[in-house]
Amino acid sequence: MFGLFSKSKLESSLVPHRLMKLIVFAYIALLAPHFERIPLAAIIYIALIVSWRLLNIYINFPLPGVFAKVLLVVAMVSLLIVNFAVSLSVNSAVAFFAIVLGLKLLEIKKADALYPYIFLLMYLAATQFLFEQHLFVVLYQVFCIGALFYILLLMHSPNGVVASDGVFSIGKMLMVAAPFVVIIFLFFPRMAPLWSVPLDSGSARTGISDEMSPGDIANLAQSDERAFRVKFKGDTPPPRELYWKGLVLDIFDGQRWSSSENNFITKIGRVPDIRLQKDVSSLSYQVTIEATNQLWGFSLADPLPASNNIYVSTDGLVRFREMLLNTSVYQVDHAPLATSLGKSSLTYADQQRFLQIPRTNNARTKAWVGDQLNKLGSIEAVFASLLEKIATENYRYSLQPPRLGDNFVDEFLFDSKVGFCAHYASATAYIARLLGIPSRVVIGYQGGEYITQGDYVVVHQYDAHAWVEVWQHGKGWLRVDPTAYVSPDRIERGIREATREEGGFLADNIFSAARYNDFGFVRWARQRMDMANYYWQQKVVGYSGDNQSSLMMEWFNSNSIELMASLMAGCSLVVFLLLLLIKHRQWLLSFFHRSSYYETFCQLFAAAGFPRAPGEGPKKYAQRLRQSVPDAAPQIDFITNVFITQTFKASGDKSAPTNINKMIQVQLLQLKKKLK
């Protein structure tokens, strides 16, 4: 009757092949960023399904019947059980969703099934943001959303009419939408999470791990992924002081160092509402950290948490309260008081913990330590002689050290003498423990690339580093970096310089822009891109409820929901009116437009039978008029000349007489009389 709903005109019609093709490609485009998260078997499965559908499109290969469909579903379920049964994670949920969407491709026959499918694809686009929110990722997904709207448009367009126009109109729509999106983004009230959600994204990330065997960190030297960015409130310290502590490794089994820290990670929880403290000292810094899927954060020595999402562990390390799934921000201040606290003594349990060494192995090292102890007499002197040995004998810093056997400290110290920071740290901590000095290996990052334009430091994975902390009674943990003795360049100028002669920096990563930093343009472009991404992460991705309320307080001194709603409505209205004005600018111009004296002049002659031809220049027109109406020649010349001078001379030209308007009026009056 009233007909709120009408039977869809497309309901019963089959999806045309050209549309189905686009749908399949859109699915592939949206799946592509998820490839790293989907197990290989599932990718093969999806490839099979996609090619089946494409075969159907191109050569009319029949779609699966009931039997084949059941088989496919069984295959999918077993695939999921094998790959994801153990963990409920964001990663497995997204992979499941993506696979089901792939399977659905074989089901679509009728055109009206396309609507829900396209919306599900839009959701698939959104899921990528659970993993990455970089500027380019966002641009890519917005492009994909536009493409999906384009497919919707094609569904409703007469054949061929809109194909080329459509892209343009979708682009225009996105452009019109942009200001509204910005307004809503700014003022839409952010709520705290409503319920707990699976947090673990389950995927492996490049980065340091909680174990270190010689060679581990050398692998990281091949990665130019960003670990985090730091912006200091005060001056940025020089690179040699930037030791970013991440983990303390206290257990040594002769080969590898590992951490006794219990990294219990909750699978389900609430995403934190991050708040940064405002009153912090000039030594404080803000860290924008990439997702690690771990709890650990990085800080300089003696951290004091200055945001609500972190705390400091008993080992003096920054730890997150929730697993780090997304790029996140935290703030750390320097704790001056902490330096004197807890430094006077070490508990007995801790002493045991930091002195533990495997009983056998490394006989030569033990002998050497014994000899030195006899020769030099004091523990401190022996430890100093070790560092001297490293600095003076021909030890070499290398990204490609030889493989070492069971007695790796022996082999490294006395035979190969070639190693990466992990080797030096390992050997040093081991010898310190042999000497009875409580010691531990610290891993984290060292240095970083200073971005002058943005005044912040970028720390990459290749800045990963390992060093040693030794306990000194009354002074607490002291940092000893044996790598600094063998390769001062590594500490002062970074790993690039340290391995310049040998090569090997990003050796496997030929396309990495960081590898070509020597070229000025590459460096410039890389830093600019990083800066754009940094501000994107800081200002846009990091825009949370906290930022919003402080922004509201700063601008309007209130952060009530009513205010935000009215701001949203008000600003949208203003933008809407502006767009309306742009659209109807012709009308607007005519509203303010007053006919000029030259138009009056033209109208007068037009009424007398000499209209100005379209495209006729004022000079030519004047010539023609002079011939036709010779006795009005002075007026014609005067008005034409004034018009030409005014129109074509610079607007700042003030040489015209002040009473020019009056003169023009007089001339026009005379002209009127003459034409009558």
């Binding site: 009408s6 919306f119 709207f149 983004f185 995403v271």
Partner: protein, 315 residues
């Protein structure tokens, strides 16, 4: 539309006031209705789920995507509305039809502004829909059919004009009363007239012509031609079916009158008369119609036929 229920009647009265009957109408905000389609509601569900994701994961970019899609949907309302706004629909020609056949009505859709209208569907309730695309500053004609059941004047219900362009998320529509009035002739059914002797008989003019079987020539055989008139000799010679044409009516009963079918109901009688009239016209004979004294001239030709059929339709 044809519902007689209370709500329907109220709605129809309201519609009558809002979109009054007129031959040509330019669609504007008074006459256009806007409501989401099923797909539009799907989009709403998507937005809600996505917003929940954004809230629970505190994910700025998912928020952004929600806002982007929402704004696109709101813009779609505007675009959908503009895809009917300003379109002028004019009823052009209403053809006549025999009862049971389809009435053919031609409409024109014209774009007066410099903008095209895509994917505009026109239909009558329960009738097949016709799709039209109108290019900027152009006129498109659309033919709609309307099933007829009984003879007489058919006042067509309101025409539904709708569009879901551009994305199928929003449906805009209007019910237009374009004053479509068609004439439906009776269904042509062959009947057995009461023998002439019982009937009151024709008038003298016809009798005068009786028996004057003047052979006029040959024409191509048409379906429905009497086999008696087939030129069998020509058929044997050339293999072509030809019908012999006669200048004058063959029988005196070419004055078709309602009384011929006195034994049948009025509707049946009119149907039989309709058949007779068509038959006579097809044979190229002169004929007249006598409907209870309302008598026509003895004539033939399209104009005459139409007049007779109209008389039958409106009797």
């Amino acid at each position: 539309m044809s519902t007689k229920s209370g709500a329907g009647a109220v709605f129809n009265r309201w519609l009558q006031k809002r979109i009054p009957k007129t031959e040509s109408v330019e669609l504007n905000q008074r006459s256009i209705f806007v409501f989401p389609t099923k797909a539009g509601f799907y989009a709403g569900v998507l937005l809600v789920v996505m917003l929940l994701t954004a809230i629970n994961y505190q994910n700025s970019m998912v928020y952004m995507l929600v806002f982007l899609i929402a704004v696109m949907c709101v813009l779609t309302i505007h675009l959908s509305f503009y895809n009917l706004q300003g379109l002028t629909v004019t009823r052009l020609l209403v053809e006549s039809a025999f009862a049971g056949d389809n009435l053919l009505v031609t409409f024109s859709l014209s774009s007066k502004k410099d903008k095209p209208y895509y994917g505009v569907w026109l239909s009558w309730p329960n009738e097949s829909e016709v799709l039209a695309n109108v290019l900027a500053c152009e006129v498109t004609t659309v033919q709609l059919t309307l099933a007829t059941q009984q003879r007489g004047t058919l006042i067509a219900p309101r025409v539904l004009i709708e569009s879901v362009y551009p994305f199928g998320l929003i449906r805009v529509w209007s019910w237009l009363d374009l004053d479509v009035k068609g004439i439906v002739y009776p269904k042509s059914i062959k009947g057995e007239p009461i023998p002439a002797s019982i009937s009151e008989g024709g008038d003298g003019e016809v009798n005068m012509h009786a028996g004057s079987d003047l052979f006029n020539g040959l024409r191509n055989f048409n379906r429905g031609d009497s086999l008696k008139h087939v030129a069998w000799k020509q058929f044997a010679r050339q293999g072509e079916l030809l019908t012999k044409e006669f200048e004058s009516p063959r029988t005196q009963s070419n004055v078709f009158s309602l009384e011929d079918y006195g034994h049948a109901s009025i509707e049946a009688a009119l149907s039989h008369l309709c058949f007779d009239v068509l038959n006579a016209e097809a044979r190229g004979e002169f004929y007249a119609l006598n409907l209870k004294g309302d008598c026509t001239e003895m004539k033939k030709g399209a104009e005459h036929l139409q007049m007779c059929l109209q008389k039958l339709a409106l009797y």
